[in-house]
């Protein structure tokens, strides 16, 4: 199957009825989740095991625990985005909106005296998913660079909205005095417990998303990314599948937002900034948008690398920037694939 990447497409392609822009289809590997059998589970298993034993082999300090917890929370959001990018071929620059909405759900409920996790987390998930669904109705009518820009636009609008709501602190943000209760208990206050809650959540989300991508739903999604015309010829419209994928990724980001609010005990519009959206996208790309594990790898690498470098150097970005560039250049295209011209 040819990689569809030329600035202009054969006549059939350019008449794509969903208004796709010919020149700028976001191109991820056609071999998403290509490895089959036991090998597919190896990398995720390794990562999860490493993270499970990490607190007991040197990363047990309060600082390292909160750092890794933060990395895993961002990994959760990145996993949702990875499904969109690698699975559906939709690079969204607006994930921070859902992440922030999840975080603000915790804040709003806290403002109204509700801190029980059994209520708070489902609300965060629902809020993120609902926002994704509603915006997805509009956003998914576009493709390529237009899609990226509209997701960005919605992200920005949410950001401006959050900045102007004074009761939630506006730009100054909202401080949470106490973590979410889990069935009445303050168990989340313990750093180790919180760490494992994040780890468990990440593992669960990962498995669910992997299963989704392997299912019929996932196959249609991936097929639609590669060749929407063919999918339509088979009698299926890509639109509802993409909408579902978008909604799910929003819900996942909402969940991550709820956890993030707990991790930092503070919610501010900065969580919604386009810089955060870009950061999530970079995590996905860095780890490799061809597989879900890439999101986790990317998140861990970016958070840890940033921390190590900033710790020791004044102008650490002078090293970080070239490192990012080098990693991408050396890694090669998705599994070595290259775009082809003409």
């Amino acid at each position: 199957m040819t990689e569809l990447s030329m600035p202009t497409k054969p006549a059939l392609e350019s008449q794509a009825p969903d208004g796709a822009m010919p020149a700028t289809r976001i191109n991820a590997s056609s071999r998403f989740c290509a490895t089959t059998g036991p090998a597919k589970w190896l990398l995720p298993l390794l990562l999860l095991s490493a993270l499970t034993i990490a607190p007991f082999i040197g990363a047990g300090s309060a600082f390292m625990l909160s750092l890794l917890a933060r990395a895993m929370i961002l990994a959760i959001a990145a996993l949702g985005l990875s499904m969109l990018v690698g699975g559906a071929g939709l690079a969204s620059l607006g994930q921070a909106a859902m992440l922030g909405i999840g975080a603000y759900s915790v804040a709003i409920l806290d403002l109204n005296g509700i801190t029980e996790g059994a209520a708070v987390f489902p609300v965060a998930i629902l809020a993120g998913g609902l926002f994704a669904f509603l915006t997805g109705l509009v956003v998914l009518r576009t493709n390529g660079i237009a899609f990226i820009m509209i997701t960005l636009a919605f992200g920005q609008m949410t950001y401006f909205l959050a900045s102007s709501v004074s009761s939630l602190g506006g730009d100054d943000g909202y401080t949470l005095y106490g973590r979410t209760l889990l069935f009445g208990s303050k168990v989340l206050r313990d750093r180790l417990v919180f760490y494992f809650v994040c780890l468990g959540t990440m593992a669960t989300v990962w498995m669910i998303l992997a299963a989704l991508l392997e299912s019929r739903f996932g196959r249609v999604l991936r097929a639609a990314r590669q060749n929407p015309i063919r999918v339509q010829a088979l009698g299926l419209s890509p639109y509802p599948f993409r909408l579902l994928a978008y909604t799910v990724s929003g819900a996942v980001a909402g969940l991550a937002g709820g956890l993030l609010a707990n991790a930092t005990a503070f919610v501010s519009p900065a969580a919604l900034s386009w810089g955060r959206s870009a950061e999530l996208l970079f995590m996905v790309i860095l780890g490799g948008s061809g597989r879900l594990a890439g999101a986790v790898i990317g998140a861990l690498v970016m958070v840890l690398l940033e921390e190590i470098l900033a710790e020791n150097l004044t102008y650490w970005r002078l090293l970080y920037g070239p490192l990012l560039v080098a990693i991408v250049l050396i890694r090669g295209g998705e599994f070595g694939r290259r775009k082809r011209h003409a």
């Binding site: 730009d171 005990a265 501010s268």
Partner: protein
Amino acid sequence: MQRRMVLGGVAATALLPSVGRAQPAGVKIALVSTLSGPGAALGNQIRDGWLLGVKLRDGKLGGLTAETLVIDDELKPDSAVTKATAAVERDKVDFVAGVVFSNIMQAIARPVVESETFLISANAGPSTFAGKGCNPYIFVASYQNDQPHAAMGQVAQDEGYKRVFILVPNYQAGKDSAAGFKSRYKGEVVDEVYVPLNQMDFSAEVAKIAAAKPDALFAFMPGGLGINLVRAYRQAGLGHIPFLSCFTVDESTLPAHGDAAVGLFTTSTWAPDFNNEASRKFVSAFEDTYGYVPGSYAAHAYDVASLVDAALKQAGGTADKAKLRAALETASFASVRGNFRFGPNHFPVEDFYLCKGVKRPDGKFATATVRKVLSNDPGAYTAECRMG
């Protein structure tokens, strides 16, 4: 987090075992400041002012060797929370000082206070901590955020301006500044315009101002916003309308303003031309060490160093928290602002001055005092504070 170890002597370094509160020979301070991004000009001043205060005391505060961990909050609240938490939990600092921006201060207040570490702000002074949210562990040595704006409102009132145009950015501090100004200015507000934080071009707003023909303009436009505004203002020929501002025309932005800022007004707790000994010593040492003119940000940070020094001497060390707090509340030291004392809510009771931009004979730009506007102003929120 950048580890900047500033120790008194090499011998002290060799003698210091691993860090911990049981360490009798030293005091550790985390200096949280914005050292990257647009706010860095202010953050640099705070860092430099603090470090100068420590340096001029041979690296000791209260007789104890002082170790400063300089932390860059990057104006990202969640990043700041992580780093501040690390500072109090992993590095076990005795004080957290600095903080340029209010949202960063709000973010780090909880972890710092919960670990029973003192948070001493050299700049941010949100009303949350001045009134109902006042806290035994939180001290603000600069001013309460509304005060400079209120002082400018008093100026407008005193000058008899009947119609004033207000121009501020559309975020919490901007709204607070407009409210602060209006708390003392009782004339007519011709228009109140809120601009986006990343506004680049002020020609539209400047046109509005020209059309409205106010007696004066009140603007709160920090950093790059202020530079764009002043330039557009001057180029449009509006220089004849008095420019009353806060944090728009100060030493952090004057070098970029250049001649355009000469004659524009601002209110402040301090200006480099203050005539007391502590201030003169500070200004000359600062310019010798760092090569640029200090603004009130650096001056406040320097005062925090003096405060900590005096408090440590009075309390005899960091061991007894209650004693240390009492010492912080009552310590007397030679402030660059002249007399300095805290109010009951741990915010200063101080004077405010009208200042304006000038070009010094040596070619550098600074602010110069015009007159005192408010005397011993405690700020508007003191009554709401219910600290035991």
